[in-house]
Symmetry: none
Subunit: 426 residues, 2 copies
């Protein structure tokens, strides 16, 4: 009868993570791998390179999970004390592993580096452990079973950790242990706040079966809904998720841009490619950020022709050919100006579509009738135009980000109205 593993914890050891000197990308990656394996990560804990802190951390993680994943502090330098602490914790000692020793020796010789005593110590592993061989580096991983709890210990170097986890730990878990099934389904929404979304779907949410959990993951302008189902029968879970999604869609269809875990940029890219449409941009207050949203995506040169960042009226007039009177009469931040920007830009770039933004990002430049956060956006589609006025915040960075997201949302709406293209169709 196989040992059941349903919960896991990650213990990250190292001062550099606590001091904020490096971003801990390891535990995010491990978290994703675990959720695919159907193991629920209950705890993520980071402690410094201190004996008693590590001991306390090990106890806490053991109490809260079946599977404790330890990373970091395995290096050869004296501030890496993980192995000694583990010896103390498990009341065991170190033994030198000859296969690892040869590997480390070769590793250094290949690189023409001296094989010092300190490096030899890398081949010392816990007596009660199985070695998780590290082809990518010198510090081996270790697998320790302590009654019904599994401990694995890996170096903190991301590509070494990922290598050991993928090629040694995942196969072992799958073959030798009893894992739960968990699957996720995403519904990506744009243009509606978390609380309004919650109101719209509360009836549906209240009727969700116990084995499906819903999470709201908000970011500026966007709310990601994640449904997580766990149980024994994968096919049944998939079926139930499918059923729940189709009953959810009618409540919020106009806000959905994808049923996959992708960005609005990626979703729009698919739609443009699928409809053989190309696009150009004139941006003022977004200052290049809207163009970046398109060009960040690989292959965007196929449909993104280019853009103007029009930060001065001269440029608006001389290059985008905005009528001088339009700006004089209505101002640079106006429906009239942003409309001309969109129309002329599409003409100049000879594109099917264009987007234009003009606004007051702040903190300065606001007036009584046009306060900071006032932004006009426009979208041109084959002769037709759509405009929208945004009333945003006092925060420049946020105003730029929101103007980008709402411009992409306007494009999403225009693609539906003018090309009958539902983004989440893909």
């Amino acid at each position: 009868m196989k040992l059941k593993i349903t919960t896991a914890s990650i213990l990250t050891i190292g001062d550099e993570i606590l001091y904020g000197q490096i971003t801990d990308t390891n535990s995010q990656w491990i978290g994703q791998e675990l959720s695919v394996l159907g193991i629920l990560l209950t705890t993520k804990l980071s402690v410094g390179d201190k004996f008693e802190e590590i001991i306390k951390g090990l106890d806490y993680c053991k109490k809260n999970s079946d599977f404790v994943i330890i990373t970091g502090g395995l290096g050869p330098t004296k501030d890496d004390i993980t192995k000694n602490v583990l010896c103390d914790y498990f009341k065991t000692g170190l033994k030198r592993n000859e296969i690892v020793l040869k590997h480390v020796k070769d590793f250094f010789e290949k690189r023409g580096k001296e094989f010092t005593l300190i490096n030899q110590a890398q081949a010392d592993v816990l007596e009660n452990s199985q070695v998780l061989f590290n082809e990518m580096g010198t510090a081996p991983g270790m697998w320790i079973q302590d009654k019904n709890t599994i401990f694995v210990c890996m170096p903190g170097v991301p590509y070494e950790m990922k290598h050991i986890f993928s090629t040694k730990i995942i196969p072992k878990l799958k073959s030798e242990f009893d894992l739960l099934n968990i699957i996720h389904q995403f519904v990506m929404t744009i243009g509606i706040g978390e609380s309004f979304l919650a109101d719209l779907i509360s009836e549906w949410e209240n009727n969700l079966p116990k084995f499906i959990r819903l999470a709201y993951l908000p970011s500026p302008g966007i709310v990601k809904l994640r449904l997580s189902a766990n149980g024994n029968d994968i096919e049944l879970l998939k079926l139930e998720l499918k059923k729940q999604i189709s009953s959810l869609i009618p409540y919020i269809e106009k806000y959905i841009f994808s049923l996959q875990n992708i960005t609005i940029e990626e979703s729009i890219a698919k739609a443009l490619v699928n409809n053989k449409l190309n696009i150009s941009i004139s941006e003022s207050c977004t200052g290049g950020a809207l163009s970046s949203a398109f060009t960040n995506i690989a292959g965007s040169s196929a449909y993104f022709m280019g853009s103007f960042v029009a930060y001065s009226n001269e440029i608006k007039q001389n290059i985008i050919n905005i009528n001088k009177d339009t700006i004089l009469k209505y101002g640079a931040v106006s429906e009239e100006t942003v409309l001309e920007m969109a129309i002329n830009t599409a003409k100049i770039f000879k594109t099917d579509l264009s987007l234009a933004t003009s606004g007051i990002a702040g903190p300065d430049g606001g007036t009584i009738d046009k306060p900071v956060g006032t932004v006009w956006i426009a979208c041109y589609f084959k002769g037709k135009t759509h405009t929208k006025k945004l009333t945003l915040t006092q925060n420049r960075e946020l105003n730029i980000r929101l103007s980008v997201v709402y411009s992409l949302n306007l494009l999403k709406e225009v693609l539906f109205i003018e090309a009958n293209q539902k983004l989440y169709y893909f």
Copy 2:
């Protein structure tokens, strides 16, 4: 007599972080802020949206620190249970805060959105708490003192958390509590890797007095050096730091862009304003990101005139007037093309300076003689031009970021050569 705060812990609440759906950038940022305050972060703990896990986490953090920082799970939706758990933990209840209620109400009305019951609940705060007002969003922060432990609770949305921490928590800590005397001095470098920098300054570093700690904080293209001195006599510490900085500068002067904790963008902005110079940009592979680096800075419209994002050869030819033969003969990614881009752009925008980028960001589009990661950048300054070839990585996102940073570094060098302007002078 003020309460002493020497250690802190961060408790992050939310399934999304455990499941690896979002990167936890909050706790890295908080870790940096704390070390600036002279508070040692001993623990970073993430738990899911589950009652008993949060309780256990609170106990653990309280045991391990004087100051417990809680983020996440404050949203209005059902999966956000932090407030209820805290009520139970502190044996207290919720009370509606009228000032917050009005703020939330205005927040929604300004956006022409309905003020629902769920939203009103955002104004409920713990009876035993002081409200940390959240101008950036609807969920307020809370400050709770429980005997000798301070708990603060903030929303997980990064810009809201950062706002509350910077404008409410840091001032309160500094004025009302006994913190270790620690002062920091930054030396911002660009264009040299961490290990090479370490080699250059090793002699200097080895002679640092015990009470000064040096931290290397690397990001793509940039290494931030932070010297932290702690002791009782602030004036003495300042004097000693000043002395150390002036002895450091000769080792690495050409790489320094500031002696303050600012970005290269901010440093360049100061130099442009000080020298009354304006600038325009033509960017291909950076696709708007270089323009954003300028326009992200408040007041940039004073010196940034605008830019072309030239993603197609047509645009390069018809709008930036690149000679057709130049592209045919040398290709879009070449010194000749990027040079013409810079010269013509400065002419079109009538600016003193211009920057141009053209390269293969990847993952596709590479050739044998021009592999992915090949980028040409150029800088024009009043008739003079400077170009540089970059050989970057296989990673598109990183290539774009590095192209931006190195373009700014080229501008930094040109300002020194042509205008004798040392950026770190300011």
